[in-house]
């Protein structure tokens, strides 16, 4: 996958070495380094292939066992089990992105274009620090501090805005709802979006910015005309990276979300769609027999979803790269 994006620079380098008049002397360092980097590249492919192989091998019994037998053992047919949690995975990640992307881009723009230098740097550090907080800490905080304290707000929202379908239903009594879990997820993916966007915004060509300002644009117009179009590919890849993190988040969701194996669009109730990763984490410790295969097959579905998201991101980025002037 990384091949397509790195190809332009490699061909460039090869051309320049072919064009040089004096043939370069072969050095040991060259071949060692080439071997090392090729080896690393191959290694990651091998690891990925082994993971995929393991998932498929272990998942196979759950996929091939007849639904009747699964029913007998109390697990139910595979697809009707996995679809609600796949929905929950995508839904919670989507909500998290909905909250985190505007805020993350706002912080990044503030750091890169609005904040005075003395403030920008410490703020950047603080945001990066957020990325170092373990997810189990977010889980503990979310379940024991955040959920109880926002619960009254959720009940208010449910009572007064219940006509809006996602806020409808019977409000939760503990606050461990989809909305709470998504908000915590949003905080967790904020640093990814912020630091990537900040780097991209900082790389916007100074000449474009100055030209826009010279033509009489306000600062917001300058950002809209010269920074954002330039950064579009970077923003998209930041969002996709954040989405990958949100899709795979396990511990925090398992601890915060009051999940069930249902499809539910309502975000304030006590019965929420669980996520794949959280379901695996919750049920694996006591799993045995076919149940293990079933959970791993769930992992395979998550693997496929994540892979699809990443490939989509690569595709979007590569399509946009031509226009952005980033190369």
């Amino acid at each position: 996958m990384s091949h397509s994006s790195s190809s332009p620079s490699t061909t460039e380098r090869q051309e320049s070495s072919e064009n040089s008049l004096v043939p370069a002397k072969k050095r040991i360092g060259d071949s060692v380094f080439k071997g090392l980097s090729t080896g690393s590249g191959v290694l990651i492919l091998v690891v990925l292939a082994l993971v995929a192989l393991f998932l498929i091998m272990q998942a196979l019994p759950a996929l091939t066992t007849s639904p009747d037998l699964l029913m007998q053992q109390g697990y139910g047919p595979f697809w009707s089990w996995v679809i609600p949690i796949a929905f929950g995975t995508v839904y919670s990640s989507f909500l998290a992105l909905l909250f985190a992307v505007p805020v993350g881009m706002g912080i990044a723009l503030f750091i890169s274009h609005y904040a005075p230098r003395q403030l920008a740097q410490p703020l950047g550090y603080v945001i990066d620090l957020l990325a170092a907080v373990p997810s189990v800490v977010f889980g503990l905080w979310g379940a024991n501090a955040f959920a109880p304290s926002v619960n009254t707000a959720w009940i208010w929202l449910n009572r007064n805005m219940g006509w809006f379908p996602p806020f409808g239903g019977q409000a939760s009594g503990t606050g461990r709802t989809m909305l709470t879990a998504s908000l915590v997820l949003a905080v967790m993916i904020l640093p990814i979006i912020t630091s990537l966007c900040r780097e991209v915004f900082l790389q916007a060509p100074k000449l474009h910015e100055e030209a826009a300002l010279a033509l009489g644009a306000t600062r917001w117009e300058m950002i809209r005309m010269s920074v954002l179009p330039f950064a579009r590919a970077g923003i998209i890849s930041a969002v996709m990276l954040a989405l990958g993190r949100a899709l795979g988040e396990t511990m925090a969701v398992a601890m915060i979300l009051s999940g069930a194996n249902v499809i539910n669009w309502q975000v304030l109730t006590g019965t929420n769609s669980n996520t794949i990763a959280a379901t695996i984490a919750l049920n694996f410790p006591e799993a045995f027999g076919l149940r293990v295969n079933q959970l791993i097959a769930g992992g395979l579905v998550l693997f496929v979803i994540t892979l699809a998201v990443n490939m989509l991101a690569r595709w979007v980025v590569s399509r946009r790269a031509a226009f952005s002037g980033a190369n």
């Binding site: 109390g74 379940a143 503990t174 999940g259 006590g270 006591e286 799993a287 045995f288």
Partner: protein, 362 residues
């Protein structure tokens, strides 16, 4: 560059070597008397129920102090994993939140037992499951099985429901919604709690299961601590959790027959005495049909079994199991564990039966 890398690697390797030896021989500083045999040596491995993790840790520590030559390992990987491992012969004994079913029993099915030998199910760990709640202004809540099943299946939704009022005439019950909290992870606690609701009530209509029944609503929380926290911090909440983890919370009394019983160790231990053995089992197999309506006994109780062979292929296994499980079931062992795990010690009568069963192991 190379030198810089080598030094930390060497330190790590040395540390790994140094620490890897420790874990197996760790022992507590308890000095309670147990089955002690200076000549006993070897490694005893068990796997199973995580509900008795704390108790097993205590027992292992006690036992290894008494018998320095023996290493006991108990991995709390879950009851199902334990039963599977015991059947396959991976471990000498299993811990399980339920006895082996008739279809799982049978001479020759267990890899470590002789072909003629069946398995023995010995109840060694009894722990009351408390019904905890958090409702403003309500103390000393009293519930019966039908009401509790109605609450947890979502049929009773308000705290001032007439059915709750009928049992708590003097209580000032608010009109708030009931939020019933259950375990989101598979658990033996859920299994025993749903078993109680299924057997003692007329409205539950579900078999006992490790997983919460899918069609019953309510909120889910992870692990015992998750349920306790959700009940503590929520409004109008009710949940169930191992009694030892419920300090500082209001606990409901459950109705059995005509009286209301609190989840005390004594009341919990009574259920084992008031229950019949599963029909058709060998003399020394104590698989029980728990009588969730036994007079004077607290009905929501988790009973965990040690599963062992009647006759081990290897006499050394038999010797180790007899000695270790013998200690677990002894009065000292039960008392020692209850200090840290909060379980209900076996009654004298049951302890005697188990001792006879352990003596019969070959």
């Amino acid at each position: 560059m190379k030198k810089k890398l080598v030094a930390p690697l060497a330190i790590m390797a040395a540390a790994t070597l140094a620490f890897s030896g420790c874990a197996a021989n760790e022992s507590g500083n308890s000095s309670s008397a147990g089955a002690s045999d200076a000549n006993l040596s070897g490694t005893l491995t068990g796997r199973g129920a995580s509900s008795m993790r704390a108790a097993q840790e205590k027992w292992v520590a006690d036992f290894q102090t008494k018998n320095p030559g023996v290493t006991v390992n108990y991995s709390p990987d879950g009851s199902g994993a334990g039963r599977e491992a015991f059947t396959a012969g991976a471990v000498q004994f299993a811990g399980s939140d339920r006895a082996l079913k008739d279809t799982e029993m049978g001479a020759g099915k267990f890899a470590r037992c002789t072909p003629e030998s069946n398995a023995l199910n010995l109840p060694v760990y009894i722990s009351p499951i408390a019904v905890i709640y958090n409702v403003q202004g309500v103390k000393d809540l009293k519930l019966d099985a039908d009401t509790l099943a109605g609450i947890f299946s979502g049929k009773i939704t308000k705290w001032n429901d007439p059915k709750i009022k009928a049992l708590n005439a003097s209580a000032n019950l608010p009109a708030t919604n009931i939020t019933a909290v259950h375990r989101s992870d598979d658990s033996g606690t859920t299994n025993n709690f749903t078993d109680y609701l299924g057997k003692a009530s007329t409205v539950w209509g579900q078999d006992a299961s490790d997983t919460w029944p899918k069609n019953f609503k309510g909120e889910a929380a992870k692990g015992t601590s998750g349920v306790v926290d959700a009940v503590k911090t929520g409004t109008g909440t009710i949940g169930y959790a191992d009694e030892s983890a419920t300090q500082g919370l209001d606990i409901a009394d459950l109705k059995v027959g005509n009286e209301f019983v609190k989840p005390t160790p004594e009341a919990a231990a009574k259920i084992v005495d008031g229950s019949e053995k599963v029909a058709g089992r060998a003399e020394h197999d104590w698989a029980l049909n728990l009588n969730r309506k036994a007079e004077g006994a607290y009905p929501a109780v988790l009973v965990s079994y040690a599963i062992v062979c009647e006759d081990y292929k290897d006499d050394k296994d038999a010797q180790l199991v007899k000695s270790y499980v013998g200690y677990i079931a002894s009065a000292d062992g039960q008392k020692s564990a209850s200090e840290s795990a909060g379980n209900a010690p076996l009654s004298d009568k049951m302890a005697e039966n188990i001792k006879a069963a352990i003596d019969s192991i070959k």
